[in-house]
């Protein structure tokens, strides 16, 4: 406690503590302004010579065949689902890591660590299950497998 009964404000040096998110917003403005100014500079400098031939997409010099927006076998969709699970879990792990050291001092090692060990343990078991069922494997399409066999 303050023994001289003087308001705290008069003893401590008045330091300005600005809102960090205003500063981050300012960098966001700068981070958009820099590319934008480059685009404007380029617009002033560059020529425009429209020709039909050069607008074709570059597919190694061949005449492009077919559309790109087709049904495509995304071979890692199972991995993407797993990612969502683990991503949410990192959100839950971060607060724990912040308070962990203090919590060990206050409630002891067992109560601070064991619940998180159980939580991570469940996830590891889940990963092992997904691994065993081939979810984290790059699935070769049937056609690619067939081609490989044909070549032999």
């Amino acid at each position: 406690m303050n023994p001289y009964m003087v308001p705290i404000q008069s003893l401590t040096v008045q330091r300005h503590m600005s809102n960090p998110w205003i500063a981050i917003g300012a960098l966001a403005v700068v981070a958009v302004a820099i590319p934008m100014s480059m685009m404007v500079a380029s617009r002033l400098l560059r020529p425009s010579v429209p020709e039909q031939g050069k607008r074709a997409v570059y597919e190694s010099g061949e005449v492009p065949t077919g559309d790109t927006r087709i049904r495509f076998n995304i071979q890692y969709y199972m991995v993407a689902l797993l990612f969502v699970v683990f991503d949410i879990e990192t959100v839950l792990i971060f607060p724990w890591t912040v308070i962990y050291r203090d919590a060990v001092g206050e409630v002891g090692l067992a109560r601070a660590l064991l619940p998180m060990l159980a939580f991570v343990g469940i996830l590891v078991v889940a990963l092992a299950w997904a691994w065993r069922n081939g979810a984290v494997r790059w699935i070769r399409s049937p056609r690619a497998t067939k081609q490989r066999v044909d070549r032999q």
């Binding site: 330091r15 300005h16 600005s18 809102n19 205003i22 500063a23 981050i24 917003g25 300012a26 960098l27 966001a28 403005v29 700068v30 981070a31 958009v32 820099i34 590319p35 480059m38 685009m39 380029s42 400098l45 560059r46 020529p47 425009s48 010579v49 050069k54 607008r55 074709a56 997409v57 570059y58 597919e59 790109t68 495509f72 991995v79 797993l82 990612f83 683990f86 991503d87 990192t90 792990i93 971060f94 890591t97 912040v98 962990y100 050291r101 203090d102 060990v104 002891g108 090692l109 601070a112 660590l113 998180m116 991570v120 996830l123 590891v124 990963l127 984290v136 494997r137 790059w138 070769r140």
Partner: protein
């Protein structure tokens, strides 16, 4: 001579550059408006600084380093050491015609370069550069920087899908597969460092690394987390390589397989922005590694900001070394390494660190 590596580290006591500027220029009286003015000034300094680094790295240093690795001579005609090639390349690239390919998805195709370049630059908001240069210091600094660094993936998939090119599309999909696989190990390894500091604030993480770890004769080795937990450091380095898409994890743009991946159809200023974004992202990865594992701007004799630049250029050199020395992994190998190797190792690291920290603290 007692050489400590702790002299120049900025603790929490100094505050951010914006606070300092507000105090010095007396902008406090104008409330949030005054803060915004000060913040814009500091943000412009940081933007210029990172742009300068990227200009040096992209057209010049990268060529010089690769040439040195492959026993060739690179750019040496324009200016001293070929340095003016930076100006020449900037003018050359900006004055190229912008060719818009047929069938591109127009708003997405135009926005992708902007997203890639801006998001990488935005990550530097919370990085303590040393010598008092730090824009913002929120309590959630580390979580913020991870979050912002992964916005770039969105730009990559936009570029890949909107280009209407099969190689671009493959590149975009590969970029997503890679980022999904290595994001979790990266963040979990970062979290294992938070167990030591007990704070996500960047200034606190730097301040926690100033204490000497042990004395080696006259030199005090500081408790940088690269020395405290070398296992986590190596894991983080590898995951970062994948996150920024450099060798051996450069399959999203693998030039010998899919032309240039998601950047195939970009020309003129859009190509510059995509390329610039990639380089800023490499430096952002280096800045995160430096802050979290290498004591931030700490170092003897020289000012903090010089040490910070030395360290992020060290990480940049490492990526260029890997680019010249390590072959690219295949996509199925990449998925296996990420989900079966890195993820398991990063959780082992987290649990082991928690046990060790708990036993010491308890």
């Amino acid at each position: 001579m007692q050489a400590t590596a702790t002299g120049n580290a900025t603790g929490n006591a100094t505050g951010t550059t914006v606070d300092m500027l507000v105090d010095v220029a007396g902008l406090g009286a104008y409330g949030p408006g005054g803060e915004a003015v000060a913040a814009l000034a500091v943000a412009a300094v940081i933007g210029t600084l990172m742009l300068t680094n990227t200009a040096l790295a992209g057209p010049w240093a990268k060529r010089k380093i690769t040439a040195a690795f492959t026993d060739r001579i690179a750019v040496n005609r324009v200016g001293p050491f070929g340095l003016l090639i930076i100006v020449a390349d900037a003018v050359r690239l900006l004055s190229k015609e912008l060719i818009v390919p047929e069938g591109v998805d127009r708003p997405a195709w135009d926005l992708a370069p902007l997203v890639i370049a801006s998001s990488a630059l935005l990550g530097f908001a919370v990085i303590p550069f040393g010598s008092g240069l730090q824009l913002a210091d929120p309590e959630t600094g580390l979580a913020y920087v991870f979050a912002v660094a992964s916005i770039a993936s969105l730009g990559l998939i936009m570029a890949g899908y909107a280009s209407n090119n099969k190689y671009s599309f493959m590149g975009g999909l590969r970029a997503i597969a890679q980022n999904l696989a290595y994001e979790i190990p990266l963040v979990i390894t970062g979290a294992s460092v938070v167990l030591f500091t007990g704070s996500l604030q960047m200034s606190e993480i730097v301040a926690a690394q100033t204490a000497p770890l042990f004395e080696l004769g006259p030199v005090a080795i500081p408790s940088w987390y690269a020395f405290v937990n070398p296992f986590a450091f190596v894991l983080f380095l590898v995951a970062n390589m994948a996150e920024i898409g450099r060798n051996p994890f450069d399959i999203p743009e693998a030039p010998t397989e899919i032309v240039a991946g998601y950047q195939t159809e970009y020309s003129s200023v859009y190509f510059v922005l995509v390329y610039l974004g990639e380089f800023i992202h490499i430096f952002l990865g280096g800045a995160i590694i430096t802050t979290v594992f290498l004591g931030g701007p700490a170092g003897p004799v020289l000012p903090g900001i010089v040490w910070f630049m030395v360290k992020i250029w060290g990480i940049f050199l490492l990526t260029q070394w890997a680019r010249s020395a390590i072959p690219r992994v295949r996509i199925d190998q990449l998925i296996s390494i990420g989900w079966k190797g890195m993820l398991v190792l990063s959780f082992a690291n987290l649990v082991l660190t928690a046990v060790i920290v708990g036993v010491i603290a308890g």
